[in-house]
Symmetry: C2
């Protein structure tokens, strides 16, 4: 039931930008902040939220912190969405058949 925190984390546009930036590979906080219209502490706060949602992981490298995408949060979201997708298709199929019979 932890997909909730993942969705809430990805709801913010700035956090999505950070997440999509990490898609191209790991990066440090300062580097991430350069390509964004917000301050470095803001990026740090966003990374904390993403980390708690298991969407990113952190690795210390000297004085820097390297962040990379964590597949755990992503897979939880995928499982939830896939379940929904199957149910939705089933319902559409059932409704279509019902309407067909009524004719």
């Amino acid at each position: 039931m932890a997909y909730g925190t993942a969705i809430e984390a990805l709801a913010d546009p700035t956090r999505r930008k950070i997440f999509e930036r990490l898609r191209r590979g790991p990066s440090a906080v300062g580097v991430l902040a350069e390509g964004l219209p917000v301050s470095r502490p803001a990026v740090s706060q966003h990374l904390k939220v993403l980390k708690e949602a298991r969407l990113v992981s952190e690795e210390q490298d000297g004085a820097r912190r390297i962040y990379r995408i964590d597949p755990q949060g992503l897979s939880q979201l995928r499982r939830w969405l896939d379940g929904f997708w199957d149910d939705a298709l089933e319902n559409f199929k059932a409704e279509a058949e019902g309407k067909g019979k009524k004719k």
Copy 2:
């Protein structure tokens, strides 16, 4: 690029409850409000957001409005997540190989 509105819509816990309730089949506004700890106008406002995100669709049936899940918003979300998933796996593979070579 419309997956953003879908994620933002599903970020709210109450909206997720409504959406999961609709998973079991179409329903009217008043019926949905009975099983929730919020007022009926609140549910109506949430349904408006879900509709604008193409996550639900509306059908008029006399004085009532029947809401059901719309697969459009769902499929957009799935496509976005699937792309992310593929990239994430690629990066992990590349990183693992790189570390292996360094040894």
